[in-house]
Amino acid sequence: MNKTLKISFDLKNTYRVNSVLYGLKQIPLVKKLLPEKLYGVRGLKVFANVVAVLWEVCSAFLGKILYFLIMVSGAAAMYGNMPKDGAFVHCFLFLSVIGSFMNTHLFNPTRDKYYAIILMRMDAREYTLINYGYMILKVLVGFLACGLFFGMGAGVPVWLCVMMPFFVAGIKITVAASNLRSYKRTGDAYNENRLGKFAWLAVGLLLALAYGLPALGIIVPEYAAAAVMAAGVIGGILSVRRIIGFDEYRAVNQQLLSQLLTQMDAMGSAAKNASEKVISADTDIKSDKKGFEFLNELFVKRHRKILWKSALRLTAVCLFLILGCLLAFYIRPEIRQGANELLMTFLPYFVFIMYAINRGTGFTRALFMNCDHSLLTYSFYKQPKMVLKLFAIRLREIIKINLLPAAVLGAGLALILYVSGGTENPINYVVIFVSIVAMSVFFSVHYLTIYYLLQPYNAGTEMKSGMYQVVLTVTYIVCFAMMRLRLDTLIFGVLCIAFCAVYCGAACLLVYKFAPRTFKLRS
């Protein structure tokens, strides 16, 4: 028994460790520092194993600490007018019921199970039971410690706190046993990652009961909670026999793991399929143009759904919000001044908003998946002249798509500024409008440029460039940081316009210089 546990732990570790190492290898600079035969380095493995053991110990507590902190104690503390202990027990009770079918372990197809049971042909029953036992033990220990700590902190009596871990384990076992019974009857194994309509409905309902009732001033009385918990414990004890006596773990796992495998296979092709699905099958779409303009027009028209439709939707939302703002000014004139002041210092905030509404990444993704992925294998498509010609056409297109919501937003902001009391310096109107438009152009240029310079995908449509990820992350962080910046609109706007102009010029130069070499499939 110890051996099975050790083997399964080893197995899980090995691929965890390897995934960590693989992850490290994807980071640009770090990649160069790591040796080629990374996966064979013993010292690294030992170190990683130690980390994994520590992680295993921590994971028994860490998740539960967070769970109690946020979902139970934290949430319960929100209901100021309810007794703290009562709200605590109430939330805990309903959440545990959700956990009993959403977090079963037994019906969660994971890779380590696949490796152990299917590939390594370990005894499915022994493997499952030992790991299940181990998981239950972790639940007992983790919930006992956390339950006592947080429960007593909320004023829950000790005896009730002690019951908590046994209730959680009991109800998990009860539900698992009932799922096994239903497998015996129907031959269909329950998969906790593929919940049906009703299960999701139950989750919603239980969440509503957990967090909604206390808001209405209703909580489950202590004695009732204790009775439910006791029932859970007894149910668990009675169900243990079924779990241990069940003899078809291999069949259950095979069924679940085959779903996992199709899931893993599907992941690669899913991205591709999803991209293909957005291609419009409308046979009326035609183009009278020639060459790359022909290609581009058909691409844009057949991808209307993901390109123009979302831009139009965004425009509508912007329009709606602006009108809402104006209406608010009309109904409550006293907010005008506040809004006016806000607008004069809040322009940096719009960097993030423009970042969020830009369709650039979606555009380049579709470009790759449905167009460049295939055409880049043809040599005529890779001729420098052609690459640059198409770049120019695409740049025009992506700017056009993003410009509509930006122009509406920019004009709207200028209008809001005017209606909310105006400004002494009329140049502000121009600066607001132009800087919003400039930001939109900036993001369009930015995404297309990094796509052409770093072309991050390989022929299998996998993202292969660590650098690309880094650039995207940095973009996000910078835009996010901008939200904290408070700067006079005029100053920021002028700086922003200047920056965008310089950036666009530089980016285009870089593309013209390097893209013919960098714009190719990764290997």
Binding site: E276, I279, R302, L375, S379, K382, Q383
Partner: protein, 235 residues
Amino acid sequence: MKFVIEHLQKKFGGKEVLRDIDFTFESGKIYGLLGRNGAGKTTLFNCLNRDIKADGGTFWLEENGVRRVPEAGDVGYVLSTPTVPEFLTGREFLKFFLDINEKSIKNVRPLDEYFEYMGIAADDRDKLLKDYSHGMKNKMQMLVNIIAQPNLLLLDEPLTSLDVVTSEEMKKLLRSLKAGRITIFSTHIMDLALDLCDEIVLLHGGVLENVDKENLDVGEFKDKIIAALTEETDE
């Protein structure tokens, strides 16, 4: 015309995939490129098509004693998994291709004639390429590469997943196309190589070598190839 590769090298990490490729191909012949799994056949093609950068060495086309570096238009590369732009119809893809290459393609014919030539049915020509079958996509890819009349045609296991009829059609087509150009055909299937190709070239241990058929019969020739491919290399 000749296609000459000299001292071509490519390393991945510490592994020398192409050690020292030194070979002269002659036009009018189909070369069967055989090699074991992972021998570097695709890497070699990718280097020749400039999809990846070689670490060392050169290659050139030589015509009437004049050497020149092959341009993009000189090379046609047909991949084992056909890749075609899914959002275009067969007809649109062909039109686009002809538009782009109008300067280099002589005597352009009506689109339907090309489809006729490849055996692509009339009602399939206006379907989106994403709805084409594997074999049909393959035909489109081949067609586009043929129209361009490349001097060097690289074929990476193009017949492996085609049905028997399509596969025979393609073989016939390749034979009809071999005059005036160099065709290099990589495959795992020895019988296919022996059936279609004029010369057999082995990629083994990072080098290319010709296997001389001499006057061996098919069985003996196969044994010779297997022996050469299982030979220990000095790596």
